[in-house]
């Protein structure tokens, strides 16, 4: 049977945001829709929201090994609802997909998992916090102290995350607009995690430390029909952190949005056009031409940097394919971060 086709459809709403396939996931059909002003209820909102069509728990981390070797790590859990109800048993209309990856300067290890909600194989609970699919899990007594594990055929990782700052909200206090037509999602992050742990790689175990960034987002109709893909940046720049994305439209125009986060966790949201990202280098990855070098600007904060992929071949060869990997930053600011690009295959 063709699971690829299945995953394609089920996670297309996710893919639409994460990857930019236009035309699907724009109807809401009884699902709840994000409202302004956004109101959050923690810890409950760390858990799942089955009344919304799509949702994810998204962790990226920039790591360093004992001898200064840089590594990147990704742990993602997507939830996709076929109907706005939790349900129980095999016929519960909640489906889950996990992606995990470890990127080194010369290798990129990827794994994927699919599961149904309702039987305990995958899910997310708020207190104590846990989000899991199979043996992959992020869990902790609260959202500030977490353990995070995953495994694939040629890699595994066991890490602990400790928050060094507050949770931050994107857009209008967590109501993040995703198009000029007004499609939006609830979106908050914890960008201040210190991370430490062990990577298990084909060549052996590596002790690593670094910084991690967790994104939480849920919605029911995140994209407009004329959007084809997106480029998403999370950068640590010393004087602050920058989250910026660029949604590409069929007509070649782009819709951008950004959040500047100062070291205390105070945020400034920027409307369409303030954040700019232009490809400066392209790489042939698995037969696709992908921009792996960027000039990123946020004039209001004096940011004008070059963003370059640590490993340009960081292709996520999953049922829904995209590029995601660690980047280094140089120019007006020095630093590192993560880049996700969809819609290039």
């Amino acid at each position: 049977m063709n699971v690829r086709g299945l995953a394609f459809l089920l996670f297309l709403p996710v893919a639409a945001v994460a990857q930019g396939f236009a035309g699907l996931g724009t109807e809401t059909e009884g699902f709840a829709v994000p409202q302004r002003p956004a109101f959050f209820d923690f810890p409950a909102d760390h858990g799942a929201h089955p009344g919304y069509r799509i949702e994810w728990w998204y962790v990226t981390a920039n790591l360093e090994g004992e001898y200064g070797t840089p590594y990147g790590l990704q742990w993602t859990l997507f939830r996709s609802a076929l109907a706005p109800e939790p349900g129980t048993g095999w016929s519960a209309p909640q489906l889950w997909m996990g992606h995990a990856a470890v990127t080194t300067p010369d290798a990129h290890h990827v794994a994927e998992r699919l599961a149904r909600g309702g039987i305990g194989q995958a899910g997310a609970t708020a207190a104590p916090f846990a989000a899991w699919i199979d043996d992959w899990q992020i869990a902790g007594p609260d959202f500030d102290t977490l353990t995070m594990t995953a495994s694939g055929p040629d890699f595994a990782f066991d890490t602990t995350l400790t928050a060094q700052g507050p949770i931050v909200f994107h857009g209008d206090s967590g109501y993040s607009v995703k198009s000029a037509q007004g499609q939006a999602s609830y979106y908050y992050s914890q960008p201040f995690y210190d991370i430490a742990g062990t990577l298990t790689l084909p060549e052996g175990e590596v002790a690593v430390t670094g910084e991690a960034w967790l994104d939480r987002e849920w919605s029911s109709q995140p994209l407009s029909e004329d959007q084809t893909g997106w480029d998403w940046f999370s950068l640590s720049l010393g004087t602050g952190k920058l989250m910026g994305f660029r949604l590409r439209q069929i007509d070649g125009s782009v819709y951008t949005s950004a959040t500047w986060i100062d070291p205390q966790g105070r945020t400034t949201a920027y409307p369409d056009g303030a954040f700019q990202a232009e490809p400066v280098m392209r790489t042939e990855v698995r037969g696709n031409t992908v921009p792996t070098g960027w000039r990123v600007q946020l004039a209001a904060k004096g940011v004008d940097v070059t963003v370059a992929a640590l490993n340009p071949q960081a292709w996520m060869d999953t049922t829904v394919a995209y590029w995601e990997g660690p980047v280094t930053v140089s120019g007006s600011h020095d630093g590192h971060g993560y880049l996700e690009m969809t819609g290039y295959d």
């Binding site: 049977m1 063709n2 699971v3 690829r4 086709g5 299945l6 394609f8 459809l9 089920l10 076929l82 109907a83 048993g89 095999w90 016929s91 209309p93 489906l95 794994a111 699919l114 599961a115 149904r116 039987i119 305990g120 194989q121 899991w132 199979d134 043996d135 495994s151 694939g152 055929p153 040629d154 890699f155 595994a156 298990t200 084909p202």
Partner: protein
């Protein structure tokens, strides 16, 4: 020039249409039987593959539970421990095998169902959709679940989502087994730690069903090959004769300067065209044969092995291509010696069709030597034994050896007859028969093989049936058998029955691997019935008392032979080591069986409860009790089987098993009859020079015709007499060697003289029928034709 040469060569067939007919029909029949059997085999294999594909048996390791049921939380525990496994639930509903799986975790390509239609996939996950052949879906009376007809799903099987399967089979939270995906994470917790009660099993190459049915297909293949060999005898004869008769044409062509190479190429091309034509006809006939046989084969495989195969035939390109290939290959094989002779032939050699039909002494010597060698080999193989393949090799050596020996023996017998002849007429008859022998020997060999196969197979089948019937009488001791739908009903049923019958015997069993082989473990309650009716072939001292004390187990002959187990050896049943205390005969059962007491069974498999019961009572009370059970207790009619019904069913399964064999037998005999007819017709035209002088000396044409028939009867009788011991040797081989290897049981051999007599009558009748036309032709030959013999140089 090529064109002229071709015309000259082809003119032969115009003048001898009968020869062309023989060639084409012989080759067509050979191809038909061969490709018919192949088609049946291919269809069955495709069905097994579809089933194995559906169940992922061949490609994936599996995790199973000793009792057959894996609780769903074990599955979740394994997933959460890093095991990439996918759940499967199997069960039977309305006679259909329902297989549930999880499309999200199943390996890519698992299950022959195309779910590329996304809306359909969502329907599968959310609402449940049943996939299967139209027939299987129709049989399933289940409530309203969407159905999609899919030819890719194995017959008698319905594929659906595991959640839907749990609902249909009322197996909430239960799974049958877990498929282990080939790609596992770099680390995972040990199975023994996560689920100590589950076991990991490596991929089963070929699957259980394929293993079990292999012997059946080998039997069919052997028959197909035998028929093909008989057909090739005919073809070889026809081609050889055509070459001899065409020698004058060839000589003339070559004398005119026609290059030898081109001549050979032309003849080869001509044969290729003929073989393709005959091959096409043969494949078409083969399809008819296969279509006629398939329902019986399907019934047999289902009855004997529980293997479901499709009852309808599909035209597969590889099948008809191989049919054509074997027709061309067979022709090439039959024509090689003739073409070789043509290449070696001196330019001006003259035609000698008579000499061709005769046989040199050297050749006869060679033949006798080969026959003795092959028969010796057969005896040697029977002493070595050990595998099914050796068994068939022995059969082949025996049959070919005997066929080669036939002309030599017949020649000796006829010489003996001639020496005893008193009148001139008789002397001429013996001598003439003897000199005709080489021309007829191929046809007679075919008859010998066909008859021997008939004797052998019918002896085997009848012996088997006799033993089986006796075994059924002995084993089916309970007067009525009842089945409960679930554990709850079973308990109520047992309570209801206890005061009403002499004895309620619970029948409980589980399927498990024993000594690495599939087997069922039975735990009958101790009762005199078992003691009296399970007779041991071999037993340890005090076998029954010790088994009843739970100190050991009895196993069936199949398990003993396949597992190499004998009395005193230990087997492992649910982690308990038990000595084998008895071995019993268990005919008609393809798999192994282990017998322990009910007490021990309950200890070993605490989760298993009997849902079937055998009831001992007065035979006269059966129908009254059945009525009470139906009307008073509310047990469905289908859940009761009385002894007589069960016996009838078992015998029906048995008889169907051998319908196919019987049909192939008849066909082989028909081919042999055709061979005789064609040989006689061919010889008839060549024999005028021998008959003309006899006619000239006063023997009437009518009398000559009668003598021809008499000769055919004599030869057929002699062949039949020789076929009898050969057939019995064949039967012995089938019973004592092939059966043991293929089915795991050895049967006593019984003789059926009446059957043999009837067969002999049939063979003689076939020979008379075959001789009738040539004899009639002879009696109608115009005197002028006979006179020409004296005036013409021919």
């Amino acid at each position: 020039m090529t064109r002229a040469g071709l015309q000259a060569l082809l003119s032969h067939w115009r003048r001898n249409p009968l020869q062309l007919f023989t060639l084409v029909v012989g080759l067509s029949l050979a191809t038909a039987l061969w490709s018919g059997v192949q088609a049946v085999n291919a269809e069955a294999r495709a069905s097994y593959d579809a089933a194995a594909e559906t169940l992922g048996e061949g490609r994936y390791a599996q995790i199973t539970a000793p009792g057959g049921v894996i609780p769903q939380d074990r599955y979740i525990a394994l997933r959460r421990a890093g095991w990439r496994v996918s759940p499967v639930l199997e069960g039977r509903l309305d006679g259909v095998r329902v297989v549930g799986f999880d499309p999200l975790t199943a390996p890519n390509g698992f299950g022959p169902v195309d779910l590329s239609d996304n809306a359909l996939t969502l329907d599968v996950l959310l609402n449940g959709v049943l996939f299967g052949t139209a027939e299987a879906l129709n049989r399933l009376g289940a409530p309203d679940v969407a159905r999609v007809v899919s030819a890719q799903v194995a017959p008698s099987m319905v594929l659906t989502d595991v959640g839907t399967a749990q609902e249909l089979l009322q197996a909430d939270g239960q799974l049958s087994r877990l498929i282990v995906l080939p790609e596992q994470p770099i680390r995972q917790r040990a199975l023994a730690e996560v689920a100590p009660d589950l076991t990991l099993r490596a991929p089963q190459t070929g699957g259980d069903v394929a293993q079990l049915t292999d012997s059946f297909h080998l039997n069919l293949t052997a028959f197909g090959l035998l028929s093909f060999a008989v057909g090739i005898f005919i073809v070889h004869g026809a081609i050889g004769l055509a070459f001899e008769q065409r020698r004058p044409v060839i000589r003339t062509l070559r004398a005119l300067g026609f290059p030898l190479r081109r001549l050979i190429a032309l003849i080869a091309a001509e044969l290729l065209v003929i073989s393709l034509l005959a091959g096409t006809i043969g494949v078409g006939l083969g399809y008819v044969v296969a279509a006629a046989l398939l329902p019986d084969v399907a019934a047999t495989l289902d009855g004997l092995y529980g293997a479901s195969i499709s009852g309808t035939l599909q035209l597969r390109p590889d099948w008809w291509l191989s049919g054509l290939a074997i027709a061309v290959g067979g022709t090439a094989l039959a024509a090689t010696s003739s073409l070789w002779q043509l290449a070696q032939m001196p330019l001006l050699a003259s035609a000698r069709p008579r000499a061709w039909a005769m046989q040199s002494g050297a050749r006869r010597l060679w033949q006798a030597g080969a026959a003795a060698g092959l028969l010796g080999l057969a005896v040697a193989l029977s002493l070595v034994g050990g595998s099914l393949l050796l068994g068939f090799a022995m059969l082949a050596a025996l049959l070919i050896g005997a066929a080669l020996a036939l002309p030599v023996i017949l020649d000796r017998v006829l010489a003996f007859g001639a020496a005893r002849a008193r009148s001139v007429m008789a002397e001429w008859f013996w001598a003439d028969t003897r000199q005709q022998l080489p021309g007829l020997s191929l046809a007679l060999m075919a008859l010998l093989l066909a008859m021997a196969a008939n004797v052998g197979v019918s002896t085997m089948v009848s012996s088997f049936r006799l033993t089986f019937t006796g075994f059924l009488d002995q084993r089916l001791a309970s007067e009525l058998y009842v089945y409960a739908d679930d554990a709850e009903q079973a308990a109520a049923l047992a309570a209801y029955l206890a005061p009403r019958v002499d004895q309620v015997l619970p029948i409980q069993s589980v399927d498990q691997q024993v000594a690495g082989l599939p087997a069922e473990i039975h735990g009958p309650a101790a009762h005199e019935t078992y003691r009296a009716h399970w007779l041991f072939l071999q037993e340890a001292p005090d076998a029954w008392p010790r088994i009843e004390a739970g100190q050991g187990a009895a196993i069936n002959e199949q398990l003993a032979r396949r597992g190499g187990l004998s009395i005193g050896d230990e087997i492992t049943v649910a982690d308990r080591r038990l000595p084998v205390l008895g071995i019993y005969g268990d005919y008609g059962n393809p798999i192994g069986q282990v017998l322990v007491t009910a007490t021990l069974f309950a200890e070993l498999f605490p989760a298993v409860r009997a849902e079937r019961f055998g009831l001992r009572m007065e035979a006269g009370d059966v129908s009254a009790l059945a009525e009470d059970l139906r009307d008073d207790f509310g047990l469905a009619e289908d859940n009761m089987i009385d002894q007589a019904q069960l016996k009838a069913f078992s015998l029906e399964v048995f008889d169907r098993t051998f319908t196919v064999t019987a049909a192939l037998n008849v066909l082989t005999l028909a081919v042999a009859g055709f061979a005789i007819l064609m040989s006689l017709l061919t010889l008839a035209t060549m024999r005028l020079p021998q008959l003309a002088p006899v006619w000239a000396q006063g023997l009437t044409r009518a009398r000559l015709g009668r003598i021809e028939i008499l000769r055919a009867v004599l030869l057929a009788l002699l062949t039949a007499v020789l076929a009898l011991p050969l057939g019995l040797a064949l039967a012995w081989t089938l019973l004592a060697v092939v059966n043991v290897e293929a089915f795991g049981w050895r049967l006593p051999m019984f003789l059926f003289p009446l059957d043999y007599a009837r067969l002999t009558v049939f063979a003689v009748l076939a020979a008379v029928l075959a001789a009738l036309w040539p004899a009639r032709k002879l009696s109608r030959t115009r005197p002028s034709e006979l006179l020409k013999v004296f005036s013409n140089e021919r």
